[in-house]
């Protein structure tokens, strides 16, 4: 019967337990940051599209009937989902922050407002709407949100960049921690390394021992971190998704779709791979100064 081979590096000690925790925590944070980055991206896309699609048309010196006519014609435009004239109550509600809760004075000249929801990805409907106003001899302005949306997209782009930087920083920290731990393990196992060398082991054989050790450790720790990130995300998705309003729209859209699962699965693999490379490079560099 063939004998089972004991690993040449002794099984883990307290140092490796601490390293396991650190790598697991870093993977948890990296996975969460990656999910948040993706959520931010999705939120930015959805929110930007919504803002860009909202168009307000201000009509002056016209009656409500002509305005309704304009709304009907605008609704018929190719890229427009809906166009409607705001009721007096809705306009009063909009002006309430400026005029107070007492309502508008009867004699106050208030423009008629038409809100349009359009698909800006098909094309900018502003010119077509202006054409409708001209046809009906309405003095009015079309106020799109493209510029505002651009600013929002810019701000969210910065947020995405920050989130990606955090992922990169966490990954770099994990690699540095593993490189440091490998070096420490190498020093702690110097007696074994010397015996292996004097028994004729090549550097890459010794590096392979450390590579495998840290590959498995980082893979397991990364899996733990990913599972923790999955649980936190699931908690947010299933308990926080009920909230709506502006706050909910501004927050990153955490979900658990296919690509989120891919992120969670790739995180431990990346950690393992980074650990493997870090261990190999560290050991080979350190062994140059030994026997």
């Amino acid at each position: 019967m063939m004998k089972r081979e004991t690993p040449l590096l002794p099984i883990s000690d307290a140092r490796e337990a601490a390293l396991f925790f650190v790598v697991g925590a870093l993977c948890f944070l990296a996975a969460l940051a990656a999910l948040t980055t993706r959520g931010t991206y999705k939120a930015a896309e959805a929110w930007g599209a919504q803002i860009e699609g909202d168009i307000t048309v201000v009509m002056r010196d016209t009656d409500r009937r002509t305005a309704e006519q304009a709304a009907d014609r605008v609704t018929g435009l190719a890229s427009v989902f809906e166009a409607r004239i705001l009721s007096r109550e809705e306009v009063e509600a909009l002006l309430e922050p400026s005029l107070g809760p007492g309502g508008m004075p009867d004699g106050l000249p208030v423009p008629i407002l038409m809100v349009v929801q359009a698909d800006t990805s098909v094309g900018d409907p502003a010119q077509s709407i202006e054409g409708v106003l001209d046809d009906l001899s309405i003095d009015g302005d079309v106020a799109g949100n493209a510029g505002y949306a651009e600013n929002v997209r810019g701000a969210l782009g910065v947020l995405r960049l920050v989130a990606l930087s955090i992922v990169a920083l966490l990954s770099a920290t994990a690699v540095a921690v593993i490189a440091f731990a490998t070096h420490a393990a190498l020093l702690a196992r110097r007696d074994i390394v010397d015996v292996l060398h004097l028994s004729g082991a090549e550097d890459r054989f010794i590096a392979g021992l450390f590579e495998r050790r840290f590959w498995v450790l980082a893979l397991q720790a990364g899996l733990g971190g990913s599972v923790a990130a999955l649980m936190i995300t699931a908690l947010i998705v299933f308990t926080g998704s009920g909230s709506d309003g502006v706050e909910a729209q501004l927050l990153p859209r955490l979900s658990l779709d296919f690509w989120d699962i891919v992120i969670l699965l790739v995180t431990p693999l990346m950690a393992g791979l980074a650990a493997r490379i870090a261990a190999r490079v560290t050991v080979l560099a350190s062994l140059k100064d030994t026997l």
Partner: protein, 238 residues
């Protein structure tokens, strides 16, 4: 397994030319050593404690390089070897360390098999060979015993078996009888002599036990204060 085997069969197994070794802390421990060990020779190295025996052996088994001078093993200059070549050369050398240097988390079997394992051999290809060697050194019943559970003498024999498992061209032993009783010491040296005679392995044994040396017709080198003196009191030439 790649091996460095020069065609120069007349080259000595070991050749030291003007070798000196200085440690930062203790100063010069070896001074201008010239030494030739012919292939197939059997030689003793003696000297008082601190004379530099272990340091001289370390240079020969390539644990470190000399401060000055040149070392040639099997006709190959060693100072310019690449690390891969160094590993290949080490596989031709078996070393019995004074302090055994066994891996405590491994069994007797696994310690003996270490040189084969690091050279990439699979366990099923060397299993019988390792067990036979352990039987030969009297440890047939201790094959699967963890190293810490072995006595000093048993550990010594495991270390000897490990040094021999690769069928080395050069065997260097640093006080191989230091932790065994005189009877076992005799047995170990006879084992080395038999290996030298049968296989032609070049053997260098460092020991301070002159009583053991007397029984062998072999040249004796003596180290004193870092200087090498040929001592022909007991045997022939190296």
């Amino acid at each position: 397994m790649s091996r460095i085997r020069p065609d120069l069969s007349d080259e000595p197994a070991v050749r030291l030319d003007g070798v000196s070794l200085t440690y930062e802390r203790t100063g010069e421990v070896l001074s201008e050593i010239d030494l030739i060990l012919k292939q197939g020779s059997f030689t003793f190295l003696t000297g008082p404690s601190g004379a530099g025996k272990s340091s001289l052996l370390k240079l020969m088994y390539l644990a470190h390089g000399p401060t000055r001078g040149g070392i040639r093993l099997f006709g190959r200059q060693t100072y310019d070897l690449k690390r891969k070549q160094l590993a290949a050369l080490r596989r031709r050398i078996g070393v019995v360390f004074q302090e055994f240097r066994l891996l405590n988390h491994l069994t007797a079997f696994e310690n003996v098999a270490l040189p084969l394992r690091v050279s990439g051999m699979k366990a099923d290809s060397y299993q019988n060979e390792v067990i036979d060697l352990l039987r030969w050194v009297g440890l047939g019943e201790r094959v699967d015993t963890p190293t810490p559970a072995l006595s000093g003498g048993e550990q010594q024999r495991v270390a000897i078996a490990r040094a021999l498992i690769n069928k080395p061209d050069l065997l260097i032993a640093d006080e191989p009888t230091g932790n065994v009783d005189p009877e076992m010491g005799q047995k170990i040296l006879r084992l080395f002599a038999e290996l030298n005679k049968r296989v032609g392995t070049t053997i260098l044994i460092a020991t301070h036990d002159l009583d053991l040396i007397r029984e062998f017709d072999a040249p004796v080198l003596r180290l004193s204060n870092g200087l090498l003196v040929r001592d022909v009191e007991f045997g022939g030439e190296a």
